[in-house]
Subunit: 232 residues, 2 copies
C-alpha cells in the first residue's frame, strides 16, 4: 500500500513538472510575442492555454482520487493537498501568460509599450521565463537553492514593476491613455506571474522541510501596486 | 462516525459563512473609503485584512484535519476539498478589498478617480457589496437562486468594467497618467472581486447538484481586459 502511494506521489510530481514545463513554453512564447509584436506566437499561447487548464484539472482529479483511495494522513496528506494548490497556481500562471499574449495580439502590428519601456519589459519577461524554468526544475529536483534563487528573481521583477510605474508616472511620460492602461496591466501580469511562482516555491519548501505554508501567503497575494501617494 | 463527520461539515460551513461575512464588512468599508475618500475606513480595511487571512488558514487546518481523521470519499471528500478552495478565494476577495482601500489611502485627501468616473465606480462598488452579501447567504442557505442572481450581478460588473475602459480610452478623457493607472487598477480589483465570488458560487452549486467544477473555471480566471484593438 505504501509503495503504491509512493508511486502515485511520483506520478503527481511528474504531472506537476509537465504542467510547469507547459507554463515555461507559454511564458517564453508570450514574452517573445510581446517584445517582437509576433502575432503568430501570441495566437499560439492563446490557443494552447486550455491544454494547461485540462492538465491541471486532470491532476486535481488524480489527487482527489489518491486521497479517497489511500486515505493519507499527516505529511502525506499535506503533500497531496499541496499538489492541488500548486496545480491551481500553475494554471493561473498559464492564464497570465495568455493575458500577456492577448495584449500583444490586440496591439499588433504595434508594440504594446513604447520604446522607452521596452528594455524594462524585456528584462521583466526574461526574469519571468527564468523563474518559470527554476520552478519547473524545483518541482522536478526539490533543489532548495532554486527556491531561493527564484525568490531573488521575483524581488527583481517587483523592482522592475515599480520602475514601470515610476516611468509612467514621471514627467517624461507622453503615452496616450491606452498605452498607460496597457503598460499598467502588462506590468501587473508579469509581476503576478512571478508572485505565483514564489507561492508554489514556498509550498515545495514545505514538502522538503515540513514548514507548512498556507494557501495564500502574504507574498503570493501580490504587493499593492506601487502607485505614488499624492496625499498624506 | 458519520454524525461526527456531519457535525464537522457543519462547522466548516459555519466558518466559511463567518469568513464571507468578514469579506462583506471589508468590501463595504473599502467601497465607502474609495467613494468618500475616507482614510479612516481605508485604514480599518487594511488593518483587519489579516483577520480574514488567519480565519482562512485556520479553516484550512480544520479541513485537512477532517480529511485525515474521517477519510471521507466521493462526494464527502469533494465537499471538504471545495471548502479549501472556497476559503482561498474568500481570502483573495479580502485582499482585493484591501487593494481598493490602499488606493483610497494613497490618494487621500483626493479621490482616486475623477468625477466623470465616480458614478461608474459607485455602481461597481455597490454591485460588489451585493455580490459579497449574496455569496455569504448562499454559503449559509445553499439557496441556488442566489448563485444565479450573483452571476447576473457579476455580468453587470463586467459591463461596468468595460465602461471604465471605454471612458478612459475615449476622446474626452483628460486624466493624468497616474489617474489612468489608478482607474485601470481599481476597475480590475472590483472586477476580480466579483469573479472570485462567481467561482465560489459555482463550487457551491456543485455541492448542491453534484456537478463538479474544477478549481479555476474559465470565468473565475478573469476575462482579459477590454482593451480596444488598434491593430488587425
Amino acid at each position: 500500500m505504501r509503495d503504491v502511494f509512493q508511486q502515485e506521489l511520483a506520478e503527481v510530481q511528474e504531472r506537476l513538472v509537465d504542467i510547469a514545463n507547459h507554463v515555461v513554453v507559454s511564458i517564453e512564447a508570450a514574452v517573445r510575442a510581446f517584445g517582437d509584436s509576433n502575432v503568430q506566437l501570441a495566437e499560439q499561447v492563446i490557443a494552447t492555454d486550455p491544454v494547461i487548464d485540462d492538465k491541471a484539472a486532470s491532476l486535481d482529479e488524480l489527487a482527489i482520487d489518491i486521497i479517497a483511495r489511500q486515505s493519507p494522513v499527516a505529511r502525506d496528506l499535506r503533500i497531496v493537498v499541496s499538489a492541488l494548490r500548486i496545480s491551481a497556481s500553475l494554471e493561473r500562471m498559464g492564464d497570465l501568460a495568455r493575458h500577456i499574449a492577448l495584449l500583444a495580439r490586440y496591439r499588433f502590428p504595434m508594440q504594446v509599450v513604447p520604446e522607452s519601456l521596452q528594455p524594462t519589459f524585456a528584462e521583466m519577461g526574461a526574469n519571468d521565463i527564468e523563474i518559470a524554468k527554476m520552478l519547473r526544475d524545483l518541482l522536478s529536483t526539490q533543489d532548495m537553492t532554486l527556491a531561493e534563487r527564484l525568490q531573488t528573481a521575483d524581488e527583481h521583477v517587483d523592482k522592475l514593476h515599480r520602475d514601470v510605474f515610476a516611468h509612467v508616472l514621471g514627467t517624461s511620460w507622453e503615452g496616450a491613455a491606452h498605452t498607460t492602461v496597457d503598460a499598467t496591466l502588462a506590468s501587473r501580469y508579469h509581476e503576478r506571474f512571478a508572485d505565483h511562482a514564489v507561492g508554489i516555491a514556498k509550498k515545495v519548501q514545505y514538502l522538503a522541510t515540513g514548514d507548512w505554508v498556507g494557501d495564500d501567503d502574504a507574498h503570493a497575494e501580490g504587493a499593492p501596486e506601487p502607485v505614488q501617494p499624492t496625499g498624506d
